[in-house]
Each structure stands twice: as structure tokens, then as C-alpha cells.
């Protein structure tokens, strides 16, 4: 949890995510970061965020509250500022349904005094399969192992 030595997010990242949640912005943590949060043994250095709409004004407000700025006209849109460098915005996820469908089946992960939604492991695997880049294929086996291990917990 925040303040402990093994908490991965900067104060700025935590503020950004908290402000987004407080404002009711709809977003999902996707990609390898979401897989790692669910137990996959993989190495990642950023958190990918998928927003229902990057035109949502609460994104810029949250970035400002975290001491940064949201450049929504850049391609891809990006969040800039000290401590916010690891947050990436994705505009589309290969192999998935539209945002609302995926959001409806997302899992909640508690974070400090709020919770964030993440794409379930099965859907991350579908997305990586569809993307098909070498780096996506390289992690597929680790993701399948995570899914297998988690299935024994249910």
C-alpha cells in the first residue's frame, strides 16, 4: 500500500488515478501491467490505460491535480509530468470488444482508498494473441501459465 517500500506507484501516479476515479472517469488498466497485477510472471515498466473517451475533461483535471499535463492532441495522447512517465494511454486494444463491453466484465483491484478496474487475464491473452507482435507472442506462455494457476484458486 502507499507509503510502504514495495508500493510501485509514485505519489503523482496515485493522485492521478485517485482523481480520475473520484471524477467518475471510465478507464481500464490493460496490457502486461494488468497481467502482472493478476499474478503473471512478466516484466513491465509502464501501466497502460484505456479510456472510454480521451475527450473526457476529467483526464486533464486529474493530470493537473497530479502536477502534470494531459496532451490529448498528441498521437498517441499522453500524460506528461514528473512521476507520471510510466502511464501510457492506449487508444485501441486488438482482439477485444468495445470499451463498454470489456468494462462491464472488468475486475476491481483495491488501491489505497479506492479501486481501479483491470482487464481480466483471459482478455489480455486474447488481445496479445490478436496483436501478434513478437513481444506479444513472447509473453503468451507466461500469461497462459498465470491463467492456469489462477483457475485452481476459483
Amino acid at each position: 500500500m502507499p507509503g510502504s517500500t514495495d508500493f510501485p506507484l509514485s505519489d503523482e501516479e496515485l493522485t492521478f488515478l485517485r482523481e480520475l476515479t473520484r471524477a467518475g472517469a471510465k478507464f481500464l488498466i490493460v496490457g502486461l501491467g494488468a497481467a502482472v497485477l493478476q499474478g503473471a510472471d512478466a516484466v513491465t515498466q509502464d501501466l497502460d490505460l484505456w479510456f472510454r473517451s480521451v475527450a473526457d475533461p476529467s483526464i486533464a483535471q486529474a493530470a493537473r491535480a497530479a502536477g502534470g499535463v494531459f496532451a490529448w492532441r498528441s498521437v498517441p495522447p499522453m500524460i506528461a509530468g514528473d512521476g507520471l512517465e510510466r502511464l501510457d494511454i492506449v487508444l485501441q486494444c486488438d482482439g477485444l470488444d468495445n470499451f463498454d463491453v470489456e468494462y462491464a466484465h472488468a475486475a476491481d483491484i483495491p488501491l489505497d482508498d479506492f479501486a481501479v478496474k483491470i482487464l481480466p487475464l483471459e482478455r489480455i491473452i486474447a488481445s496479445k494473441r490478436a496483436a501478434g507482435r513478437p513481444k506479444d507472442k513472447a509473453v503468451l506462455e507466461a500469461l497462459k501459465a498465470a491463467l492456469a494457476a489462477r483457475s485452481t484458486l476459483d
Binding site: V36, Q45, K144, A145, A146, A148, A149, R150
Partner: protein, 113 residues
């Protein structure tokens, strides 16, 4: 023999997770003409140099590995990958991410050298 029904059922079912000590007690009570001894020399986990804590760590690791092998076989995935996941699942989600970020930093440092 003062054992629980589930332990007796395990014996009857030839379950290989039955502790050797239980099996020995059962043989003794049945007055079976068999002699079974535990060969401590062949037991990798009972080396004289191992403390109780070290034996516990080795046993935990071995249990996790065996569980991983069972899961891997059932799902046709790599047992080593599953074992790592089982360890990760003992951490909180955010501890898992911290560990992953840390490994990314180490990877980056090692490639910069």
C-alpha cells in the same frame, strides 16, 4: 489407532501424500510382518546442516513445485512458469507490480553496462 477418518481413508486409497510416520504406525498396530524405515541419508531435506527454518523453506518450495507440475500437466503449460505465478499470488497485486518494475529496472541496468 486414534486417527481421523480422512487419514484412514487416505491409507485405504493408497494416497501417496500419507505421511510415512502414519504408515509406520498403521503397520505396527496391524502387527504386519513388514519393516519400513525412513532412509534419512537419501532425504535431501533432512541434511544435518539444515535448520528447522531452512527445512521449512525447502519443503514450501517443493510443495509449490509439485503443485505447479500438477497444474502445468493439466493445462499444458510450463511448470516453471506456473511455479513463479504461484509465488506471485502469495503477494498483493501491487507488490507484484513493484517486483515487475524492479526487474525492468535491473534489466535496463544490465543492458546499459
Amino acid at each position: 489407532m486414534g486417527s481421523s477418518p480422512s487419514r484412514i481413508c487416505k491409507l485405504e486409497a493408497c494416497d501417496d501424500t500419507v505421511a510415512a510416520s502414519l504408515m509406520l504406525r498403521a503397520l505396527e498396530i496391524m502387527d504386519a510382518p513388514l519393516r519400513i524405515e525412513i532412509d534419512a541419508k537419501r532425504d535431501a531435506w533432512s541434511g544435518p546442516g539444515h535448520t528447522k527454518r531452512e527445512r521449512r523453506m525447502l519443503a514450501d518450495r517443493l510443495l509449490r513445485r509439485r503443485r505447479a507440475e500438477r497444474i502445468a500437466e493439466a493445462h499444458t503449460v510450463d511448470a516453471g512458469d506456473v511455479e513463479h505465478v504461484l509465488f506471485n499470488l502469495s503477494l498483493s497485486p501491487w507488490q507484484r507490480l513493484a517486483r515487475s518494475f524492479q526487474r525492468a529496472r535491473l534489466d535496463r541496468l544490465s543492458t546499459e553496462r
